[in-house]
Amino acid sequence: MCSLRRWAKIILIEMLFYKEKELRTFIEGLSENYEAAFDKIARLISQDLINVSYHYVANYEDAKDVSQEVLLKLYKKLRSFHHASKVSTWMYRIVVNACIDFLRKKKKTVSLEETITKDEKDTDTMIEQMEKKDTQERIKKGLEKLPLRQRNVIILKHFEGLKISEIGKILGCSQSSVKTHLYRAIENLRKELGGVR
């Protein structure tokens, strides 16, 4: 239990939400050297961008496209960022909107064929790999079937580890609304995955 919490903590530290201070410092540096400061910001958030968008589009190449689109938007908009909200909240909003736009354009997402990371290939047996792949695909399919409102919430809460209050700010809805959608999303995923309950 303790190790699980420690692991979760390590993962959470990697999240965009926990990089607020660094982001603010880099944004302040934009006035001095825009290109260099943007470079630092892009390097800091790139992994977060690809992970969030991957959970939406369920395809690595598409996730890369969305991330690039987001970076482009940030490059244009960082200049006019007016600190009305946290930098991370603002960035999450841009990513979520970009993902929604992408899904709308595409309508039908591509097949969920995805790569397994190298170390998994080395350590796992063939059966374990097959099982993992099967579960992963079922999860992705389950996520795909969720209505966008529920998908937004589960991705930001479960995969990004954001606080409910923060999700409310990003999505512009109340905390109770976030909780309701989160619960419904989990229920739907449980039904979809079947037998996990």
Partner: protein
């Protein structure tokens, strides 16, 4: 203490409950094996959802950054204003996404705003048409009345002086026009 609902157990897992409630559920889980099993089920489900984070290679990141910087972009007052407006619209858009009732209210308001002036205009036109019609009827009445009167007078004159020819209707209208 009553067994917590499923929703509360999920929030307990995420540590999203108030301190007091969180502690009471924690105590309850130690005592109630049924709830502990429910909680373990939730935990195992979430463990299944866990996935390794995807890594973007440095080469891919470099090419992405290069592509971004290649796009020509000249900041100006107008572009800044446009970006701000876009930001504002994006935040509103997501908000509306979670308040579908607001969308229907907005659509209804827009429809009302479009339809109301049209209905008003139509009513105004009908009123004008009514006025014109009444005016026409009145003027016709006066003309008819005058012609009738004239014709009556002529008939009387004809009886009196049968040698004279009766005037034509056309000539009578002409005289009425001249008089008016």
């Amino acid at each position: 203490m009553k067994c917590p609902k499923e929703k509360e157990l999920i929030l307990f897992y995420y540590r999203e409950l108030k301190k007091r409630r969180y502690k009471s559920i924690e105590v309850h889980l130690r005592e109630c094996s049924h709830c502990l099993k429910r909680y373990e089920n939730i935990g195992s489900f979430f463990a299944q959802l866990a996935s390794k984070p995807i890594q973007l290679t440095s080469q891919e990141l470099e090419s992405m950054l290069q592509h971004v910087k290649q796009t020509t972009y000249k900041p100006s007052f107008l572009i800044n204003a446009k970006d701000r407006l876009e930001d504002f619209l994006e935040s509103i858009r997501l908000g509306l996404f979670y308040k579908p009732q607001l969308i229907s209210v907005t659509v209804a308001l827009i429809v009302i705003l479009i339809i109301l002036p049209l209905v008003g205009k139509r009513h105004h036109l009908n009123r004008e048409f009514d006025i014109i019609q009444i005016e026409m009827e009145l003027s016709l009445d006066s003309i008819e009345g005058t012609i009738f009167d004239l014709y009556e007078e002529e008939l009387v004159l004809m009886d009196e002086t049968s040698s004279l020819e009766p005037p034509t209707l056309h000539s009578k209208i002409e005289t009425v026009r001249r008089e008016t």
